[in-house]
């Protein structure tokens, strides 16, 4: 089945949500995203990494190099306090947006 495009502006929200559960590296995030979206979304690293870097720069994420279970070194991202606040705010907005869109679609 054809994969869906990730809607504009929602990638950050999904990354933050995934990282809210536990710190994770880039590949892990892309895999988790695929699983959680029931393989509907597949994020291209060319989009994922710019998002991660931007969020890190803005202080929403903090990155550190850690050793993985398979004894590989990887860069793990975790949510900062500011990132968590951002996520709450962001999710609340998203809920309103999707509710609004759904209402319009059903009402039409």
């Amino acid at each position: 089945m054809e994969k869906l495009d990730i809607p504009q502006g929602t990638l950050d929200l999904m990354i933050l949500t995934i990282l809210a559960r536990e710190p994770m590296h880039g590949y892990g995030i892309s895999q988790r995203l695929a699983v959680l979206s029931h393989e509907q979304f597949q994020v291209n690293p060319g989009s994922l990494f710019p998002s991660l870097y931007r969020l890190e720069q803005d202080g929403k994420l903090k990155a550190e190099w850690r050793t993985t279970g398979n004894n590989r070194r990887a860069k793990y991202y975790r949510l900062t306090a500011s990132g968590r606040r951002h996520l709450d705010h962001y999710r609340e907005r998203w809920n309103r947006v999707s509710f609004a869109v759904a209402s319009v679609l059903e009402g039409a």
Binding site: N44, G46, F49, Q57, N70, R72, A74, K75
Partner: protein, 927 residues
């Protein structure tokens, strides 16, 4: 996110860029490895797993590029990389870089230099406090060329009394034509002796009101005290008590900047107390004043309305507009005579006769600029055109390069560069070139300006203020960056240049030539048109200068050497001076190589009219009095007319017998003869020259006309000759009436010695200095030069304009030729295959030449036609700068068109010839 945070992030990124790059690299590598590991777990062989993982990543380099561009400060990094890349590219094509830099340096240099002139003369306000409050008041005579003339002392005093618009109105006198000097004509310069060496210093005689109006504060000491400038020196005429203020510059150069206030120096041999030093750069009316003296107008002269000796400057009261002051002045002009209770020679609003004059106000800055403003703007426009041509040329050059760089751009696009990044790259390259060109350009401007001021010290106003200051540098920077963007964007405007697939596929083969060349052809056509306009303008100005040099000035100025000297008032005053000058002339006449020698009070070409009222027999002017206006008095010594080569058209010149004869004699010029006794025989008529006003004698005896000399163009070869009266210094004459009167001796203080010789001035310098020292040990020789140099200086501004415009036009023409040549060569190179085929199937070599030539000549002729049309439209804007040639002069146009056609033919000929020499075998096999 705070600004601070962002800045910190930028700084971090810059500082830790290497680590960050390594991080990014490792992270992406980890990603690939993890993805590959997953695929291997699903059973893919290792190599295949890795390949598919990289594919999934969508290109490692693209991903990196996208990450980099999200970072704060990424643009800084990009600019840095673009700069490095640009530098590498430019280094790889040294010829292109050199041509571009040279073009830019000349274009920007010319503009910067001319802009500094615009800046210094026009844009910068005058260096006084609140300079826009300063106005100049001048007299205008309806008859004759006397615009912006001086005021008489009574009307100056009356205006100062009457007006309510000005806080302060002051007067000064500079330069020649100032009448009634203490004991002889006064030439605007004095001999200053402080210590052993005399120097000549330009001086201004001022009253205290002038200095107050200008708002100057002395750098040291004090200004003239109230009443001090009204006080008289002991002698008649003008010249106050023996005190002086030095300019900062003279204080530095002649007195070494040592403490001077309170000390005494010799001014024309008389001790003067230095009371102060002016601040640096302080001047009045661009006079380059070095010493300031009190004017001290004699009470008798204060009453003479005919003596126009004062320049007047006033400062408006706060809140009074120049217009309001003009309105006030015009009400005064309605009934000036009644207001002040006098008749005759008062200013009037409706001047009609030759004696009448009106007064006008003008902002001081306009008065200083005069008609130089137009000349300066013409230069700036010309320089701007040169820069436009340079831009067009570079744009065309860059376009040509973009064609050959299509592959490079395509490869970079394939490696992840966005279209915006590529355009940014070409703009960066353009900016790199133009800023480098600008830096060289500023240097070019500096050197150019310095030599310009050396060659033409007085041809432009306010040259002393000429510097490359901050605003000039900003201008240069702005011009450079604009230029860079202009020709950096040009290739990007041609969207095809990053047409990826085609560029990689067909390499450099032709295809769609028409569209791509249209832009370049249009650019080159515009270049030709602009160059044509410049060449026509330059042609007209060169014609102007040629016409000026061909005007018969009334005497033979070749093989002449002249210098001037100011004799101090000796014990015997004028008589002593005349005798000293005679001794000097006798010595000089013995010098080998000197054929003849004489002396005169005023050199021609740059004289200001004096307008002396002169009594005349058998003549009445329009107001019924037997008084004529004579524009110039010339005091001359023996052998004058023969040495100068001025033909005597009636009667005789001065002769030895006149030095001892009883009756005083004069020679007049043709204009004066016609003005006074039109048609009647002037010989034997009598005149009563105003010696009191001109050289300060106490009597004005009658003189008999003995000869009429051909007119000499005193005020410049482009002006009317004016009426001139020659007086004979060697004629002391007997006592006028009775023995209690002194002899009338009329030797002005400053005289110009004139030699007829084939030697150069420099060859005579030592001999002449020795001769002068023998008669007056402390008198410096001033302005020793050939008469041709005097003439050249008098037409300095047209020469300057012609030379600069010719240089600009030459540069423009060269650029246009290079542009035409370039576009044609490129076209030939691209059409090699087509030309080869044509030749192979039987086209003649001549046919190929014609084919290419046609392309080029179409460009040239469209450019030529546009340029001529533009020139015809614009040239009238500088018609006032031309002499003896119409702005639409057909012979100049024809000459320019022939030149351009010839040059264009040459520029097209070479590529055409090369095209025709192509060997079809070689060309077609290479494909």
């Amino acid at each position: 996110m705070t600004l601070l945070h962002r800045l910190a992030s930028i700084v971090r990124w810059i500082v830790r860029r290497n680590r960050a790059e390594r991080d990014l690299n490792d992270e992406l590598e980890t990603f690939v490895e993890m993805a590959a590991a997953d695929r291997m777990r699903d059973g893919a062989p290792p190599a295949e797993a890795r390949r598919s993982a990289v594919l999934h990543l969508g290109g490692v380099e693209q991903a990196k590029e996208r990450v980099r561009s999200t970072r704060h400060g990424a643009w800084l990094d990009e600019v840095g990389r673009d700069l490095r890349y640009g530098l590498r590219t430019l280094r790889r094509s040294p010829l292109f870089t050199a041509v571009a830099l040279l073009t830019l340096a000349l274009g920007i240099g010319a503009n910067t230099a001319i802009f500094s002139i615009v800046n210094a003369a026009i844009l910068q306000p005058l260096g006084y406090p609140a300079p826009d409050q300063l106005m100049r008041l001048t007299a205008h005579f309806p008859v004759g060329p006397l615009q912006g003339f001086r005021l008489s002392t009574p009307e100056y005093l009356e205006f100062r009394e009457m007006n309510r618009s000005f806080v302060e109105v002051g007067a000064f006198a500079v330069g020649e034509g100032v009448a009634g000097g203490g004991s002889g004509g006064w030439a605007g310069a004095i001999n200053l002796t402080a210590g052993d060496r005399p120097v000549r210093a330009r001086c201004a005689l001022v009253d205290e009101h002038l200095l107050a109006a200008l708002g100057v504060q002395p750098a040291q000491g004090r200004l003239f005290a109230p009443g001090e400038t009204d006080a008289m020196s002991s002698r008649p005429g003008i010249g106050g008590p023996p005190v002086a203020i030095l300019s900062h510059e003279l204080w530095q150069s002649a007195l070494g900047g040592q403490s001077i206030v309170g000390q005494s120096v010799y001014v024309d041999g008389r001790p003067h107390d230095i009371i102060g030093v002016m601040p640096p750069g302080f001047d009045v009316m661009d006079n380059r004043t070095e010493i300031w003296l009190p004017i001290g107008v004699h009470p008798e002269i204060r009453r003479i309305r005919q003596n126009h000796i004062l320049q007047v400057v006033g400062r408006l009261k706060d809140g009074v507009t120049p217009q309001a002051a003009e309105v006030e002045l015009s009400t005064f002009l309605e009934n000036w005579g009644e207001r002040v209770g006098v008749k005759g020679h008062v200013p009037t609003g409706h001047p009609s006769g030759p004696q009448d004059h009106t007064l006008r106000l003008q902002p001081l800055q306009d008065a200083i600029l005069g008609d130089a403003r137009r000349a300066i703007w013409v230069l700036q426009a010309a320089a701007g055109l040169v820069l436009l041509i340079a831009c067009a040329n570079l744009a065309s050059l860059v376009l040509a390069r973009a064609e050959s760089r299509r592959r490079e751009f395509a490869v970079r696009a394939a490696l992840g560069a966005s279209r915006g990044r590529l355009i940014q790259q070409t703009i960066t390259e353009g900016a790199l070139l133009s800023v480098a060109g600008g830096v060289i350009g500023v240097w070019v401007a500096r050197v150019g300006l310095r030599s310009l001021v050396l060659a033409y010290p007085t041809s432009l106003p306010r040259t002393s203020e000429l510097t490359i200051d901050l605003s000039v540098l900003l201008f240069a920077l702005l011009v450079s960056v604009a230029t860079g963007v202009f020709f950096g964007v040009a290739p990007a405007a041609q969207s095809r240049f990053i047409d990826l697939v085609n560029a990689l596929k067909d390499g450099n083969r032709e295809g769609g030539t028409g569209g791509r060349h249209r832009v370049r052809r249009a650019l080159v056509t515009a270049e030709v048109a602009l160059a044509v306009m410049l060449v026509i303008a330059a042609g007209l100005l060169v014609r102007t200068v040629y016409n000026l040099t061909r005007v018969d000035a009334g005497f033979d100025r070749s093989r002449m050497v002249t210098f001037s000297m100011t004799l101090p008032p000796g014990d015997s005053e004028a008589g002593g001076r005349a005798a000293a000058l005679q001794r000097l002339l006798n010595t000089v006449r013995q010098v080998p190589g000197v054929q003849a020698a004489t002396a005169m009070s005023d050199l021609p070409f740059d004289r200001k009219a004096q307008r002396y009222n002169t009594g005349a027999e058998n003549y009445t002017n329009t107001d019924g009095r037997p008084v004529a206006i004579v524009d110039y008095y010339q005091f001359v010594m023996s052998d004058y007319f023969t040495t100068m080569g001025i033909p005597i058209v009636a009667g005789r010149g001065f002769e030895a017998i006149d030095t001892t004869s009883e009756g005083r004699v004069v020679v007049i010029n043709e204009t004066l003869a016609n003005r006074l006794w039109n048609g009647r025989d002037p010989i034997g008529q009598r005149l009563r020259p105003n010696l009191g006003a001109s050289v300060g004698t106490s009597v004005n005896p009658w003189h008999t006309v003995v000869g009429v000399a051909k007119d000499v163009k005193q005020a410049g070869v482009d002006r009317d000759a004016g009426a001139e009266l020659y007086l004979f210094v060697d004629q002391p004459g007997p006592p006028i009436d009775g023995t209690e009167r002194p002899w009338v001796v009329i030797a002005p203080k400053t005289m110009n010695i004139v030699l007829r010789t084939s030697l150069a001035a420099s060859a005579l310098a030592q001999t002449l200095e020795r001769a002068v020292r023998a008669i007056a040990p402390s008198v410096p020789i001033v302005g020793l030069r050939e008469m041709d140099a005097v003439f050249d200086e008098s037409i300095g501004r047209p020469r300057l304009l012609a030379q600069l415009l010719a240089a600009f036009a030459g540069l423009a023409l060269l650029l246009a030729v290079l542009g035409t040549y370039g576009v044609l060569s490129f076209m030939v190179a691209e059409r090699r295959r087509e030309i080869g085929i044509r030749l192979a199937i039987g086209a003649t070599r001549g046919g190929i030449v014609a084919l290419v030539m046609k392309q080029g000549l179409v460009i040239a002729s469209i450019g030529l036609a546009t340029g001529v049309a533009g020139a015809l439209g614009l040239n009238r804007l500088f018609a006032s700068l031309l002499f003896g040639v119409e702005p639409t002069d057909s012979s100049t146009l024809a000459a320019v068109m022939c030149t351009i056609a010839l040059v264009a033919a040459l520029a097209c000929g070479l590529p055409a010839w090369r095209a025709s020499r192509l060997d079809p075998n070689v060309v077609l096999r290479a494909e």
